[in-house]
């Protein structure tokens, strides 16, 4: 049983690698910084793992502290990652916007 599950997971992993290379090779160099911050946000998915471990019953205090620390890190990772990527992507414009502050 265990081996079978492991093989299934390994299959998923390999397919994900191929999809990853396929999709990411189409991202223009212009957007590589948003790509990095966006993938940063995506690896924040460890938050889900952290929540599961923190939500287990009958833990020792020690595990609970470690798991909640992971929840804290994961939350910052997810929220910060998506917000900063959104902020950055909205800077890329096809045409120049008129600026109110054209002083100097």
């Amino acid at each position: 049983m265990e081996t079978t599950q492991f093989i299934t997971e390994l299959t998923v992993l390999v397919l994900a690698v191929f999809i990853g290379f396929e999709v990411i090779s189409k991202v223009p160099t212009m957007l590589h910084t948003p790509l990095m911050s966006g993938t940063n946000a995506i690896h924040g998915i460890v938050l889900v793992g952290a929540i599961i471990v923190a939500g287990l019953p009958d833990q020792s205090t020690w595990i609970r502290i470690v798991a909640l620390a992971a929840v804290a890190l994961g939350t910052m990772n997810v929220v910060g990652g998506f917000v900063v990527t959104d902020r950055m992507l909205h800077m890329f414009k096809r045409r120049r916007e008129p600026e109110p502050d054209e002083q100097s």
Binding site: L31, T33, P34, S37, I42, G49, L73, T75, V84, F92
Partner: protein, 463 residues
Amino acid sequence: MSRADAISLAYLVTIIAFILALRFLSSPATAPLGNRIGAIGMAIAIAATFAQPGMHNYASILIVMAVFAPIGAYAARAVKMTAMPQMVALFNGVGGGAAALVALADFHRVVPEPGRLGTDVSTSIMLSTLIGGISFAGSMVAFVKLQELISGRPIVYPGQKLLNGLLLATLVAFALVVVAGPEDQWIVVATLLGALLFGVLFVLPIGGADMPVVISLLNAFTGLAAAATGFVLHMNVLIVSGMLVGASGTLLTIMMGRAMNRSLANVLFGAFGQIVSGTASAADDGATVRSISADDVAVMLAYAKKVVVVPGYGLAVAQAQHDVRQLADLLEQRGVEVTYAIHPVAGRMPGHMNVLLAEANVPYPQLKEMGEANAEFPRTDVALVIGANDVVNPDARNNPGSPIYGMPILNVDQAQQVVVLKRSMNPGFAGIDNPLFLNPKTVMLFGDAKDSVTKLAARVREL
């Protein structure tokens, strides 16, 4: 449909959302929507996780999330675009740290019952601990270097490679011991501490100019750590997301290495930028640097047909992006065609310069990548090099003795005229001579980039 199936389906939706988010990044027009789709996918995954049967401690988890979400959002809003590399390094580290902690907590949970751990799970726990720990500590050192809390120069000492090699070998041995049998949690803790130490030691000798490679690599590491955590918890959503990030980080690492013509091993162990090269350039005998006034440059630019701006990190340091854009606007009003030629390693992380110019309101169709820009230089009247040095050094093409020989560069010397804005004649980051400055086509405008560009704009306005 059972509850477990429903939750798994929700995770599948998350996976699709993440893949779409990356797909939509193929164009600046669709990318913002893609990012939102990714965020929604993440929200679905979190909701589904809270719906898992047997979840406890909702209150403490939600409180922690409610406290730390605004901190992340605040940091993301407040960060300056010049500080993006630090920010990305920090988030990399935070993600890697979270992965390592999850592995540690899960190990601690199962370990009281000996024999409960399958080899696959214990291997994954050790991988997640190791890679996550290295990623966390390495990212923190990268952060501290980029933030200039410590010198960006490589920090080297005798026996460094040997020490790092021995430490890594010890850590792998620890991991193998845990996988093989004695599931002792203190060995896991020791592995985590050792991984943290290794993360610090392995980034210390890497110089500031190599940060684009290091950040990409740490990005890949964090992805792998997340994927390993997926094996620990048997969650496909973690495996897929982690590997998407791993693939992205790996591709970027390869691209950055190629853009600098350096192998990964050379970046990690070469301590580049430490040794000032004594290699004399082939062309510098008798030639002199020609200095020019802002007035003359302004005339040159105003009566050109096509101007290509070549920005380097010096431009970002001087915070001159907005001033450059204003100068470009004035030139465009006079009918001059202005584009920007962006070298892949022009900033401190992949694509950094594009973001800085986009922030300064430069329309993205004007941002040209290296191949496209090089095709345009032969019909360019003036190449305006601002704060860039090594990425326009013709020695990379012509001088086999140069340390950067073979690195792909922007061929500004093919333009009719080259104007270099530079603070002084100090060599660039790598301490290498640049024969471009001695080329008869080249004139130098010395001074602070921001001052010079402002002056140029004022003169062009008067013409």
